[in-house]
């Protein structure tokens, strides 16, 4: 009787569960596994030396360097903006709060190509600030500054989105406790707030980093594709591929794919740590009430 009830509770018959699993896993294998494998197969199609040569090519190297540089510049801004926005939203009540939350999501809603175009219209030669920039000989579009700006725009929601729910759940009791104990604002932030949000922050940084390095559309519009100068890794892959340099293209792509795998691993570790921490926070091995 009870055995039957248990089987009922788990629900679906075996064949249906198997079918769902085959569909799910099959889809993953077909659309994620096979392409990923293909990238590495193609990259090594002409053997290891060809792969090494392709990666040590000057233009590929500068593309990698530029990609890393943009990520390094963008991430600190993202951290500051993300923490500030999440702090404001989670711990204060003010007018326009819901507007701010909506605005934070804007970069997710807008197509990256449109973002690129907007920055062209603002900073391009015919753009709003174009003449002024030209008069002062400041080069924004088709140069590093515009690429950093669009990447900032695209990646700014990641950290904030990760932190807002976390900080809302944590409330502001601990911060108030710190203040009442005599802590200054910075002491409160570094000793109480930051340790509480560190894993969420790291998670956001990992996601933002992956996006910053992988961004194509917006960067493509404002970069001008100047080889060795304004070519990031994703743009470089496209150029090489269009020149029928399959080994070069896939070698460069394999670097991006590798980056994705590292991101995935880091993300999993951080997620595991976060879960571990929350489990510790709700641990049930309470010592007995005494005295």
């Amino acid at each position: 009787m009870s055995a039957r009830a248990t089987r009922r509770a788990t629900g679906e018959p075996l064949w249906l569960r198997a079918l769902l699993m085959v569909i799910g896993l099959g889809f993953l294998l077909l659309f994620l596994g096979v392409p990923l494998l293909a990238v590495f197969v193609e990259a090594f199609a002409a053997g290891w030396p060809a792969y090494r040569d392709a990666l040590s090519d000057g233009e590929t190297r500068s593309a990698i360097a530029l990609t890393v540089l943009i990520a390094l510049v963008v991430l600190p801004f993202n951290v500051v903006f993300g923490v500030a926005a999440a702090w404001a939203i989670a711990k204060f009540d003010f007018r326009g709060k819901s507007l701010l939350i909506t605005l934070i999501d804007l970069p997710f809603a807008v197509s990256p190509v449109v973002v690129g175009l907007v920055f062209l219209l603002l900073f391009g030669a015919q753009g709003l600030f174009g003449p002024w920039l030209a008069a002062h000989e400041i080069k924004v579009v088709f140069a590093l500054p515009a690429m950093i700006l669009v990447t900032l725009f695209i990646t700014c929601p990641f950290i904030a989105r990760e932190l807002i729910p976390l900080m809302q759940v944590q409330g502001k009791d601990e911060e108030e406790a710190a203040l009442s104990l005599g802590a200054g604002a910075w002491q409160m932030f570094f000793r109480v707030t930051l340790p509480n949000i560190k894993w969420g922050l790291l998670y956001g940084v990992i996601l933002a980093n992956a996006r910053a390095m992988g961004e194509f559309g917006a960067v493509s519009v404002v970069s001008g594709h100047i080889r060795g100068e304004t070519n990031t890794l994703p743009l470089h892959v496209e150029i090489l591929y269009n020149e029928y340099n399959a080994v070069g293209a896939f070698a460069a792509a394999s670097v991006l794919a590798l980056l994705a795998l590292v991101t995935l691993a880091a993300k999993t570790i951080v997620e595991w740590r976060m879960r571990h921490e929350t489990q510790r926070l709700t641990a049930s091995d309470l010592p007995p009430e005494k005295g």
Binding site: D173, E174, E176, A177, A178, L179, S180, L181, G182, A183, G184, Q187, R191, V192, P195, N196, R280, L281, T282, A283, D285, L286, P287, E289, K290, G291
Partner: protein, 355 residues
Amino acid sequence: MSIEIRHIGKRFGDYVALENIDLHIPTGELVALLGPSGCGKTTLLRIIAGMESADCGQVLFAGEEATHLPARERNVGFVFQHYALFRHMTVFENVAFGLRVKPRKMRPAEHEIRRRVDDLLKLVQLDWLADRYPSQLSGGQRQRIALARALAVEPRVLLLDEPFGALDTKVRKELRRWLRRLHDEMHISSVFVTHDQEEALEVADRVVVMNQGKIEQIGSPDEVYSNPASPFVYRFLGNVNVFHSRLHGAWAEVDRDSPSVDAGEAIAFVRPHDIDIERRAVAGGLEAIIQEVQVIGPRVRVELSHDAELIEVELSRERANILSLAKGQQVWIKTRKLHVFSSPLVAMEEEGSGI
């Protein structure tokens, strides 16, 4: 250190949280702010702590202006309802926090910090938990650690926001008594917020009863219980029977000593345990029919009806046994003590009361 509150007012948008509050808390007193939720008691406590700013009025500490002093400079210990322990620090580090964040010049040496934290943990009898994290403690233990943490900075005032609200009854009772002892040992002023009248009456030297942003009454626990200043206080501090004026005439005998109230406009408040039941007619007694007899622990609760009116009476077990009451019996009830308020006052309150 004494606390002086002068004409404090606070609004949240259109909502009036506090209106013209005046309160003096002398040094060494343990004061309870008592009231239903939303009466403004927590807001008042947070204003004293400097975590909320008042729209108008003044806060004075030991006679000195402190209205705009930031929280960190007030030297108050604050204890939160949900403990607010730093979850990523051990119990030891939690208690040491207030000492570690002091400016370098005033910061005690490491061995001094260690000694003081150990002393405090012994004071709250939890020195054996120093290396645990807050999540590994029970609610009662967490709250005691929160207290130790607040006391580490040697505050001049201890403020507690529903400190035992999240705990179960047994632990709560224990901690109450413990808080009372601790307060007496520390020689500081303490203010605690509660909605539990029993807690306020048991622990505090003085009780401040609040309702809808205003103070209804300030007095010793016995005063507010025995001589409530308003119908609200009467109702909030325990059960009460309310008799309208037409019954009043029948009780002329009992109420002869309050001639100031015109019989037509009076409403009488009587606590259930201030009514006695007799099986025989007595002078000034009121005829009633027993509707229900319930035994609740050591007490017996009897529900009676007089015309359409329901009356609740509480007897001791012994008394109930002697009377051997049963449903449907006719009995006579007589009050030992009642309190009369004019009916406009009561009507006014019934319109907007939070209970």
